[in-house]
Symmetry: C2
Subunit: 303 residues, 2 copies
Amino acid sequence: MAITTHLKSLQALELAVREGSLKGAAERLGITPAAVGQRIRALENYLSTDLLLRGRSGLQPTKELDAAIADLRVAFEALDRATELLDFQRVSEIHIVADPDWAELWLAPRLPEFREQHPNLRFCINGAGDVPVRLGSPDLRIDCDSRNAEILFHDILVPITGPDNTRRIAEGDPDHDMEGMPLLHLRAQLDGDDHPGWVSWFNTYGHRESGQDRGVNYPNARLALDAVRQNVGFLVCGLSLILQDLKQGSVVNPFPFSKHLPATQPYALTLRHDAKNRPAIARFVNWLRNKARETQAEIDTLK
Amino acid sequence: MAITTHLKSLQALELAVREGSLKGAAERLGITPAAVGQRIRALENYLSTDLLLRGRSGLQPTKELDAAIADLRVAFEALDRATELLDFQRVSEIHIVADPDWAELWLAPRLPEFREQHPNLRFCINGAGDVPVRLGSPDLRIDCDSRNAEILFHDILVPITGPDNTRRIAEGDPDHDMEGMPLLHLRAQLDGDDHPGWVSWFNTYGHRESGQDRGVNYPNARLALDAVRQNVGFLVCGLSLILQDLKQGSVVNPFPFSKHLPATQPYALTLRHDAKNRPAIARFVNWLRNKARETQAEIDTLK
DNA sequence: CATTTGATAAAGTTTATCTTTATTCAGATA
DNA sequence: TATCTGAATAAAGATAAACTTTATCAAATG
C-alpha cells in the first residue's frame, strides 16, 4: 500500500471545499491565496486530473474529488483531534532563579535563540519574565554559591575599559593611562572575598600601590558595564559576561588576558527534584549545557 | 479551531509507531532514517514534549503520544483511502497519431519534459510507446493534411548540411561547394507537391540548372538527418525539426534563412470528439500548444 | 571482544513552498 | 454598455523546509 503524498495539498483542498473559496482556506492556513492555488494545482498536476472547478463565486469539487472528499474530511478532523490531544497549544512554564548579573548579561542575550525554537515555553527569571512568580522552589537555580551542583563553566575575571581608550592603550603604557581614569567596582567585589575585584587584581599583578578600592561603586554588573562602554573607567568583570561586547569592540581589554583572576566558584546548576521528568525542562537544560560548553571553550581560548 | 501543522511529522510518527522502527518508516516513506528522525524531532521540539522513546530495538510511544495515536491512525487510514479513491495510481493513456517525421523529430525530444511532470500518463504514438495501440480513432491527430484542425505552427523549409562544411561555407560560395556534394531527398519530396524539396528550392532561388532531383533518397527525415549530420550531403528540411540540431551545431545552414520555402500546410491538431472531457488530455494539449507557440516564435525569429 | 544494526548529529544541498507583483476574468454596479 | 471589484492565476524571485551524506555513538548480537 502506497503512502499518501501531497499532504499539504490535500489539506488545502479539503479546507478550500469546506470554506468554499481559496481565499477562505488561505486565511485559515495563514498563507496567501496564491499559495493555496499552487498547492491544489500541484496535486492536480500530479494526478493529471482536475479536482476543483474554480468559479469566481464559489468552488465546486469535480466528481473525482467528490468520491474522496468524505475521507478527506474524516482524516483532517481526526488530525485536528490529534493535534488537540497532543496539546499543540500547551504552554509550559520554566521558573529560574539565577545570579542576577549572569541572568542579565549571559542568559538574556542567548535566550531568544532558544525561545524561537520553543514558542510554547514561558519563562520566569528572577521573578520577571513571561509569567508571574510561583510559590515554592524554582525549576532551575544557577549561581556560584551552591554546593553539589552541576558545573556549567569556570569563569575568569579580567580588567576592561571603554572603546575610546583603545588608541591610547595601543600607544602607551596601560598602567600610565589608568592613572587618569577612575576604577569601577561592583558592590559585591568590595563586600567580601567571593567576588575578586581591583584589590585582588592589583595584589596579584601590581601596577598600583594605593587607592585600590577608590572609585565608583555600582550595584550590579549591567550598570557598571554601561559605564565602561561610555568610557567612564576601568572594571574587573567576569569574561563570560562580556564576550559579545569584546567581539563588537564596545569594551576592550587593556591588559592581556593572561593577567586574569580565576573566579572563586564556577557557575553551577541545581535542578528541582522533579524537574527531570518534565521534557520541556530537560530540553532547556540540555540547551543550557551546550551554551555553557561553548562559553567555557571561548574562555579557555582567550585566557 | 487551529489548523493542523507538521503534517509530515505526524505521518512519520504514525508510521514509525506502526512499523516499530524509524528505519521501517523510512523505507515505506522512501526517505532515509535520518530524515524520519528529523521529522519527528521537529514535532517534539515544536511541542516541547517527547513523543517517542527510541530504543535500539523497538520504539515506544510516550503517554503524550498514546493519547493521540488512535486519532492519527484513523486520520492516515482515511487519507490512504482518499488517495486510493483519487486514484493516485491511475494510468491515463493518450493515443496519438502524427506525422512520423514530426513525431520523431519534434515531439519526441520535447515529450520527456512533460512526462516528468505527469508520471501517470502513458503514450502511444503512431503505434509505439508505453501502451499498445487501441482500436478506434486516436485521441489526438497531428499532421499537415487535415482540414478544420487547430493550427499549431507554420513551418518553413530550409537547406541544411553537415558541420564539416561550416568552414568551407564560411570561406567561399555555398553554390560552388554544393557542386561536389550530393543532394538528399525525402521520398515525400519527390512524390508530390505537398512537400517542397530541392526542385522547388532551385526553381525559386536558382543556383543550379539541372539534376535537381538527383541524389540520394531517404524514406524519412530522421534517416536523412542522420546522413546530413555525417556530412553526406545537403537536404531541404522543415526548420521546426532541426532547431536543436542548429543550436548544437550538428547541422548548419549554408544559406541565409531568408532563402526558405514556406511549408504548404501548417502542422495542425485534431482532437477526438470526447477528448475534451478528459483532463489528462486537456493538460497535454495545453502543453502542446505552448510548445508549438514557442516553436513558431523561434521560426519567425530566424526566417 | 569484535561486529552489526539502528539512531543521531552536523553540514551542505536540493527542493518545496511562499510571497510579491502584475494580469485576467466573471459578475456586480453605475 | 462601460467600468469597477473581488477572486483566481501566472511568473519570478526569495525564503524556508526537507533531505542526503558522512561520521559517530550505543546497544544488541555473535
